[in-house]
């Protein structure tokens, strides 16, 4: 049994925790932000695993032990929707503002999760002759695809953090969704996957994020500066 996914989990949780430690004012918008993000991550992982099992024809009720085999596959779309659902459930009265406040830390968490590939030998993508390509065990050089994604999440996380306060409620969360989807959309062709991978989900995420930005700006009330002014 392999436990190398724990490296990715540790890096993801660590990056999320560090980001929240460096943004103490998030706590003025969301109570227990680390708990909320952890609940979202765990819910997403669990639902994504269930989704992957059902979509590949395995009944989770008759084979409950399979749920633990996270390495066996997690459905990206189901996991993302479940994670968002968990944030909504834990912040029902304050969902949009909470999502804005947590957006940057969630992106940093994703960056940490991706960077964990360095410690579990799982960064490589399609073959490449570029100078920064990494060698695989078989001698072929390949794109460090997961590192590309980690750097992308780190950059957009920083941009989202600097963009506080949001120009209208929901703006930063929607922008984070667009950025995250675009990063995965760009790196997906460089990842070793069967078929088209999760490209449809990433296109959907980009479209939903852009629509939310457009709708949000159309109906926006001026942001409550007294509530949002402290940079998180």
């Amino acid at each position: 049994m392999e436990f190398t996914l724990l490296y990715a989990a540790v890096f993801g949780i660590g990056a999320m925790w560090l980001s929240l430690r460096l943004s103490p004012k998030v706590g003025s918008v969301v109570s227990d932000p680390f708990g909320v993000l952890m609940a979202a991550a765990m819910t997403g992982l669990f639902a994504g695993r269930l989704g992957a099992m059902i979509l590949t024809g395995t009944n989770p009720l008759t084979h409950p032990a399979d749920i633990l085999l996270v390495r066996g596959g997690v459905d990206t779309g189901v996991a993302s929707m479940a994670a968002l659902g968990a944030i909504w459930w834990t912040n029902r009265t304050n969902f949009v503002k909470s999502a804005d406040a947590l957006a940057a830390s969630a992106l940093f968490g994703l960056a940490g999760w991706q960077a964990g590939c360095l410690f579990r030998d799982a960064c490589l993508g399609t073959t490449s002759d570029l100078p920064w390509a990494m060698s695989s065990a078989s001698g072929f050089t390949r794109h460090p695809t997961e590192i590309y994604a980690a750097i992308g999440f780190l950059i957009v996380g920083s941009l989202i953090r600097r963009a506080w306060p949001p120009r209208n409620a929901g703006y930063l969360a929607a922008l984070a969704l667009v950025y995250a989807s675009l990063i995965r959309l760009v790196t997906e062709p460089l990842r070793p996957v069967l078929g088209n991978g999760a490209i449809v989900w990433y296109l959907l995420g980009t479209a939903v994020g852009l629509a939310a930005i457009r709708i949000g700006s159309f109906f926006a009330a001026p942001p409550d500066k007294s509530d949002l002014s402290p940079p998180p």
């Binding site: 049994m1 024809g57 009944n59 009720l61 008759t62 084979h63 399979d66 066996g72 069967l194």
Partner: protein, 158 residues
């Protein structure tokens, strides 16, 4: 109360997704031996992905759909072979029917193929160049990335 209703509906939906196929139309898996397998690998002009599995092995269940999908995508360029170990014909056929496995599988109750090729436990996946030259081995459950990288390395080495 609302949560209970939600969970109850969820359980019914999940249960409805169950499949219960009976392998009445699947023939017994042909037996194999190290000599037979070496002959098969040596005669193959395509690279080979060889998977050791068993119906009682939980990780094998998670990778079975993956191997089937990989066979659908790369089956024209790569030969996929499954070897069922430590099992019964009945359970093996149920497993193949449940996942709709479409590549060739052999029966090896004593796990002699794994002993011959080297490897630990179940599942084990071997990436073997055409003609049986070089062998890369992956012990344990294989994920999509590792499987596609292994196949990509095989094809790049052609």
């Amino acid at each position: 109360m609302r949560i209970s209703k939600f969970l109850a509906v969820g359980l019914v939906v999940i249960a409805a997704c169950s499949s219960s196929s009976t392998p009445t139309d699947i023939e017994d898996l042909p037996p194999t031996s190290p000599e037979h397998m070496q002959q098969l690998l040596g005669a193959s002009d395509q690279p080979v992905v060889l998977n050791i599995w068993a119906s009682w092995c939980v990780p094998c269940r998670s990778e079975a759909p993956l191997l089937n999908a990989a066979h659908d995508e790369f089956g024209e360029d790569v030969l996929f072979i499954g070897v069922d170990v430590g099992d019964t014909q009945g359970n093996a056929k149920e497993f193949l029917a449940e996942f709709g496995i479409s590549f060739d599988n052999y029966f090896d109750p004593n796990a002699s193929i794994r002993a011959d090729l080297g490897g630990v436990g179940v599942p084990v996946t071997y990436f073997i160049s055409a003609g049986g030259g070089s062998v890369n081995r992956h012990n344990g459950v294989i994920d999509e990335r590792t499987l596609v990288l292994g196949i990509s390395d095989l094809l790049a080495g052609e």
